[in-house]
């Protein structure tokens, strides 16, 4: 150092004790935290195993192969009492997914309507939307589910005096019954035609957009798309000799037999979940729209765009960026809230899983399966919504 030059960086180790070195320190602390976590998890698992063995409670997932022996009121895949607990759990899971998907779809529509209505210049409409939001979101959900369940049951007639529409559709205390389509050989072509129709419709759409961008000529896109989507399956239906027949409901001794029935538990649960979640979505939509500066609307007007096009092309695309992240939370809430179904006897994952838990006593395993399923449903929803959010995000140039 006498010659006045500084040592090159990194040549000399800093003269501090290793435990004062921030890098080493952070490594040590991280290692300690990890070790502690592993120790806690290990202790928990080994203790659980020991205690279960001591009480001679069987552990593991072997019980899923055993015969279930109980009935389930709504099954999306075939079910008989002689099937296994594992299949029963899957049926519960599918019922949960059904409620979640139908609920999210309807809640989104209703929520957007409410959100737009809240901002309507029409005083009556905006007040109705305001009170809807204020009342619904301030009442507990379980209470609403029970209300709708008992209200639906009370409003409906006994099965021997069903309400009937054209003798095809029936509503009574056992649910809503409609003719059940029976698919015969050849029906597969109709499904194929539907898929083909949807693909073709989108091909037409992108062709029409490209042509409009190049030549400025417009094309009736929407009617053409619907024409293709509906027309192709109808042609296939006629061409294959009408392979779909219907199984109509008939009055049986206790209830209608035949047809397909939507059980009242499902109806009540969907109504309650949709009404409740839509109140929150409405507020999110309102906030999103209000977040778009009024100057944007004015700019649209000065370009001579119609009000509907301003909303569709200028306001909503910008509002969506604000709406999507909190909307994701509402979707997740709806999926998780569906577990309240157990209160009205809808056979969802918690209800069916609870029965399995009780028959087999496998509490830890069932809880783990519940957690795994809800976690997976939520994470998949999040991933999809995040992907969508990125897609519609403002492209900064």
């Amino acid at each position: 150092m006498t010659d006045g030059t500084l040592p090159a960086r990194g040549d000399v180790a800093p003269k501090v004790a290793f435990f004062n070195d921030p890098k080493v320190r952070s490594l040590i602390f991280q290692a300690l935290a990890l070790a502690l976590l592993i120790f806690v998890i290990y202790t928990a698992i080994s203790n659980a195993v020991t205690n279960l063995t001591n009480q001679r409670i069987a552990a593991g997932f072997g019980f899923l192969d055993q015969t279930a022996g109980f009935g389930i009121s709504q099954t999306l895949i075939p079910w008989a009492e002689s099937m296994s607990y594992g299949r029963a759990f899957v049926i519960g899971l599918l019922n949960t997914l059904l409620v979640a998907v139908v609920g999210i779809f309807l809640a989104t529509i209703l929520g957007f309507v409410v959100g737009v209505a809240r901002l309507s210049p029409n005083w009556v409409i905006s007040k109705i939307a305001y009170w809807y939001v204020e009342i619904i979101r301030n009442l507990p959900l379980l209470f609403q589910i029970l209300f709708w369940y008992l209200a639906v049951l009370a409003a409906m007639p006994a099965p021997r005096n069903s309400y009937s529409l054209f003798g095809l559709f029936f509503a009574n205390q056992r649910g809503i019954t409609a003719p059940r389509p029976v698919f015969e050989a050849g029906a597969i072509w109709i499904g194929a035609a539907l898929v083909l129709g949807i693909v073709a419709a989108f091909v037409v759409r992108s062709w029409a957009y490209r042509r409009q961008a190049e030549t400025g000529e417009q094309f009736p896109v929407v009617p053409t798309m619907w024409g293709i989507i509906i027309g192709l399956p109808v042609l296939a239906y006629l061409a294959t000799g009408m392979p779909i027949s219907f199984n109509y409901a008939e009055q049986g001794r206790f209830n209608l037999t035949g047809g397909m029935t939507i059980i009242p538990e499902f109806v009540a649960l969907v109504i309650a979940l949709v009404a409740y979640t839509a109140a929150f979505i409405g507020e999110i939509v309102r906030a999103g729209i209000q977040a778009v500066s009024h100057g944007q609307t004015e700019a649209g007007r000065s370009l001579g765009l119609a009000e509907g096009r301003i909303l569709n092309l200028i306001v909503i695309p910008q509002a969506l960026r604000v709406i999507i992240p909190p909307l994701t939370s509402q979707y997740l809430n709806l999926a998780k809230n569906s577990s309240l179904a157990v209160g009205i006897g809808y056979p969802d994952m918690v209800s069916v899983g609870g029965t399995i838990l009780n028959q087999t006593g496998q509490a830890i395993e069932i809880i783990a399966m519940w957690m795994g399923c809800y976690l997976t449903i939520s994470i998949v929803t999040s991933i999809f919504m995040n992907w969508y959010n990125e897609r519609i995000a403002l492209v900064e140039r």
Binding site: T43, G69, L153, A154, V342, G354, N358, I367
Partner: protein, 343 residues
């Protein structure tokens, strides 16, 4: 909520409890734990007339309640030293496994599964029951075999739920099960017209019928489709406590057999009959062998009564339930209640 709490308690207990469970101090027997805390924690129903139900003053009454009071009488000489945990059918076993309760006296059917893989011990049957069906009279149904296509309201986590599936399957009948978590929800849905049939143990049918809007519009079908031996359950792993539970029931049955009742107890204490003297602890040390005192049977009978007194007071012909002794009569009177000798 209760379910979630007890489930979490179970998870925590299973995971971190050193020997037995969270609510139990490790290294002590159940009896020592009970004596240390000064009361018995007893799991009962959320309200089933005649078996366990709080009255208007909040006091629990019923056969299952009296059984817990008899246990408290035997241990503490005070039938009030018992606290009750109302449990749904679904939560009851978790509550017992986790140590939240000391004994489950909740019209629970004794089955092999529950006795083994659930980690419970059953030892006595204090009520012989069977499953039945209730329907509206207006349906004009005379037999359960006519129920094809019916909707059936049933409570989850019960043997009932499985029996009804077996019954319809065995008889090749169709049905729609509508499954609820608590007895109250089940009955309410049946009353609201969701189901054609409500099914549970026959005693429960009579007990729940009085809660319906118009009890007289409903009838119980003649068929009894299953055996439902109801009895108290304890956890695996503590034989002494199981013995106490078992012999408390036997003491009440023996007292009835020997005609020892609340009314004539003091007279009986003067008896010269060696069997009565032995049962009442004047001779021998049977109570101490159980870990209790010599006068344990005296305590039970003085505070609670013998089996017939308990039965008649809660579910017998003079009560609203009006259930005859039937299978629950003593073995020498045409029933099944039979106690091994106390000696």
């Amino acid at each position: 909520m209760k379910r979630i709490v007890s489930t979490i308690a179970l998870g925590a207990a299973m995971s971190f409890g050193a020997t037995m469970a969270l609510a139990q101090t490790p290294g002590r027997t159940t009896l020592q734990n009970i004596q240390a805390k000064g009361f018995i924690q007893c799991g009962v129903t959320q309200g089933l007339a005649g078996f366990s139900m709080p009255d208007s003053a909040g006091n629990w009454t019923g056969m299952d309640v009296d059984f817990c009071r008899a246990l408290a009488a035997a241990v503490f000489n005070d039938p009030s030293k018992v606290r009750f945990s109302p449990l749904s059918a679904k939560d009851r076993f978790t509550a017992l496994q986790s140590g939240e309760i000391d004994v489950l006296s909740r019209n629970t059917t004794w089955t092999l599964q529950r006795d083994t893989s659930l980690g419970l011990n059953f030892s006595v049957i204090n009520y012989y029951d069977g499953q039945g069906f209730m329907v509206r009279k207006s349906l004009n149904v005379k037999s359960a075999r006519e129920l094809s296509g019916a909707s059936v309201c049933v409570q989850t986590g019960t043997t009932t739920e499985l029996n009804v599936a077996d019954f319809f399957r065995a008889n090749n009948l169709k049905y729609e099960p509508v499954v609820f978590a608590t007895a109250d929800e089940t009955v309410k849905a049946y009353d609201a017209g969701r189901c054609d049939v409500f099914t549970t143990d026959a005693s429960g049918l009579y007990a729940e019928r009085v809660k319906l809007q118009r009890p007289d519009d409903h009838m119980v079908l003649p068929e009894i489709i299953s055996k439902e031996p109801l009895g108290p359950a304890v956890r695996h792993g503590d034989d002494q406590w199981m013995d106490i539970v078992k012999w408390t029931h036997f003491a009440m049955v023996t007292a009835e057999e020997l005609n020892i009742s609340k009314a004539n107890l003091d007279q009986m204490l003067q008896s010269t009959n060696p069997e009565i003297r032995r049962v009442l602890g004047i001779e021998g040390n049977n109570g101490e062998a159980l870990g209790l005192t010599k006068d344990w049977v005296v305590r039970i009978v003085r505070h609670v009564g013998n089996y017939s007194e308990v039965f008649d007071r809660n579910v017998g012909p003079t009560t609203r339930l009006g259930i005859a002794r039937g299978l629950n009569a003593l073995w020498n009177k045409g029933g099944l209640q039979y106690a091994p000798p106390i000696r």
